[in-house]
Amino acid sequence: MFRIIYRETLAAKIHLFKMEAPAIAKKAQAGQFVVVRIDDRGERIPLTLANWDGKEGSVTLVFMEVGATTFRLALLKAGDSVADLVGPLGVPTHIEKFGTVVCVAGGVGAAPIAPIARALKEKGNKIISILGARSKNLLFWEDKLRSVSHRLIVTTDDGTYGRKGVVTEPLKELLEGKEKIDRVIAIGPSIMMKFCALTTRPFGVKTIVSLNPIMVDGTGMCGCCRVSVGGVTKFACVDGPDFDGHQVDWDLLFARQRTYLNEEKRSFEQWQAQVGKRC
C-alpha cells in the first residue's frame, strides 16, 4: 500500500497527490513515470512524475479527471492509500547542455515538464517555457515553471489569462526570432505535441515529446503502448516515453489511444453512478 501524504486541487479537475514511496523517490529522474493501481478492481495507469523528494521519500503526481481511474483517484483523501505504485519506469529525459531550450507545456503537461526544465536549467541551459491551457481555470504551476525558466510565456485558448491563442504561436515566433533555439521539449495532449512538432520541423530544431499511449504493465511485457517512430515499432514504456516528435506516427498514436473509448465511457459512467448513489 502507498499512502497519500498530501493532496491538493490545482485547477478544475486537476489534482496533486504527494505519495509515500521512498524506493521510487530515491531513483526517480525527470521524464520517468509510475504505474498506479487503486485497488483490486482497478486498472493500471501510467502517470509521469511531477516531482520527487528522496529525503522525504515521496513522489508527486498530478492528474486530471478524465475517466474512471482518475475519477476514482480524485475521491481519495490525504491518509488514504492506493494498492500499487510501480516505478520509476521509462527512460529518463535526456539532459545535457544544449544551449537554449524551449519547454512547451499544455494543460496537465505543466506538471511533468517542471522537473525536466529544472534539470535542464541546472545543466546550464537557457530555458524559455510556454505554458498553455484552454482557459484560466485550467492553468496551474505558473510560478513553479517561472522559477525554473529564464522566461515564461502563458497562453489560454480563450484569452481569459495571458496571451490569447495556442502554444504553437509563441513557439513559432521564438523559432523565427533572432535567438538560436537548440531544442524543444513539448509535453501535453497528443494533438498539441503533434502541432509543436509540425511547427518546429521546418526549422530543423530537435523536438522531444513525451508520449502517452495506453499501457498495462509499463515494463515492456505487453506491447499495448507500441508506437511507430521513424518507421520502427517501439514500446513507449521501456523505449520511451520520450521520442523525437518529428519521427512519431501521430495518426497511429491517436487511433490506438481511442481503442477503448466505448469501454472507458461505460466504466466512467458506472463509477459516477455508483459514487452518486453513495453520497
Binding site: A23, I24, K27, R37, R41, G42, E43, R44, A68, T69, A83, D84, L85, V86, G87, P88, L89, V216, D217, T219, G220, M221, C222, G223, C224, R226, V227, S228, T233, V238, D251, L252, A255, R256, R258, T259, Y260, E263, E264, R266, S267, Q270
Partner: protein, 466 residues
Amino acid sequence: MAKVNLNREPMAKQDPKIRGRNFNEVALGYSAEQAKAEASRCLQCPKHPCTDGCPVEINIPGFIKAILDDNMPEAVRILKDKNSLPGICGRVCPQETQCEQACSLAKKGAPIAIGRLERYVADWERTNMGALNPKAMPPKPTGKRVAVVGSGPAGLVASADLAKLGHSVTLFEALHVAGGVLMYGIPEFRLPKEIVQTEVAYVTSLGVKIELDSVVGKVVTLDELLKSGYHAIFLGTGAGAPMFMDIPGENLNGIYSANEFLTRVNLMKAYKFPEYDTPVVVGRRVAVIGGGNVAMDSARCALRLGADEVYIIYRRSEAEMPARREEVENAREEGIQFKLLTNPKRYIGNESGWVTGIECYEMELGEPDESGRRRPIVKQGSEFILEVDMVVAALGTRPNPLIAQTTPDLKTARHGTVIADEITGKTMKDKVWAGGDIVTGAATVISAMGAARRAARDIDEYLKGI
C-alpha cells in the same frame, strides 16, 4: 507378475459446449476411486524410469504407492519433498514428453497418468490439510541473504528451496501479485488462480518475504542489491517480452500480443469488466497467430469472451505444433478452427485504424530447419484474405532486457537470454545465478523449476563457503 492393466483411467472434463462459455476449470480431476484405480496400474518398477524423466526428480512410484495404501499425507510428503508446486505441475506439465513418456507402460500406449495423480494429491492436500500444514522443524537460520528476482515458477522454487535450507530469502516481483506467468499468462480454466496463490502462500510460509511492485533494474539494480547486503541473487525473470512479425498493419487496433490479451484477461480480470476496471475488446471473428500453448490459451479465452469464430493460424502442419496434444484437442473440441500451413503477409485496417482482415499466404513444408522441424515455405501466388476483427499474436517471447540493460557485466546471448552454466545456473556475473526462461528462452514451467532447483543447490554450496 499380475496382468498389466492397460486401461488408463480417464479424467472428467466440462462439456465442451458449456465450458466454451465459462472460465471454470476444464479438467475436473480424479475422484478417490479413480485415483486408486489408476495408481493400482503402476508396476512399481525398481528402476523407476519415470523419476528419471522428471526434471525435479519426484519419487513417482513412491507417491503412487502411498495413494494405493490410502496414506495420503505420505503421498503429499513424498511429492512436496521434491516439488514445491505440485498443484501447478499436475495441471500444466507436459507429462507426455517427460515422466509419462518414460513410464514402462508407455511402450504399450498406456502410461500411468502421473500428472493426474499428482494433481489429485495436490488437490487432496489443499482441501484436507490446508496449504500451511505444519512443517518439520524450521531450519536453522544461516544468516545468509538471497534476493530472488521474479516470482514465476523458477523464482518460487528457488525461494522455497533456499528458505528450506535456512537462508533468508526476499523475492522481488514487478507486478502487483506474485506468480508471474502462472498468474498473467495461463488462464483460469487451465490453472485456477486460487491454486497458484495457495502455492505462493506455501512459499511465504517457509519464511520467504515477497516484495511486490518492485521492478528490479529500475527501482534497484543487481549491484545495489549486492551492495545492500544480499550474498547472492537468483534471476528468474522469465521471457516476458512479446515478439511481433514486423509486417505491415501490425499496430492496428484490435491486434494484441498474447501477453497483452492474456494479461488483461487473466491478471486484470477483464473478463469481468466493468466490475473490474480493465477492458478488453473481443471481436466476433478472431485469429490467433501461432501454434504453441499460449496460442491455444489465447484462442480459448477469445471464445469464452464471446467470439463467434476463432481461428488458429499456424505456418506449419499440426505435427510440428509446439502446443501440448491435450490442449490442441481441448481447443478443437471447443470449436477452435485450425488454419494450418497458413501465415500472415499483412494486416488490413479501416479508416479508424481497426483491423478488418489478414492477407495470408498458404505454406508448404520443405526440408527440416535448425529446429529439426520441416521449414515452412511460402506458396507463391497463394495469397487470400481472411476477414477478422481481432488478432492475437502468439509468436513467442524473449527475456525482458530491463535487468541486463542496467547490469553491464551480466552477459547475454542472442535474443537477450542470460548466459548461465547449464547445470548450476551460474552467470558470468559474480554472485548471480539464473534459471528458467531467462536462460533458455520460452520453455515449460517444469524445466524452469528444475533449473531453479539446481541453481538453489549451487547457491547453497556457495553460501556455505563464505
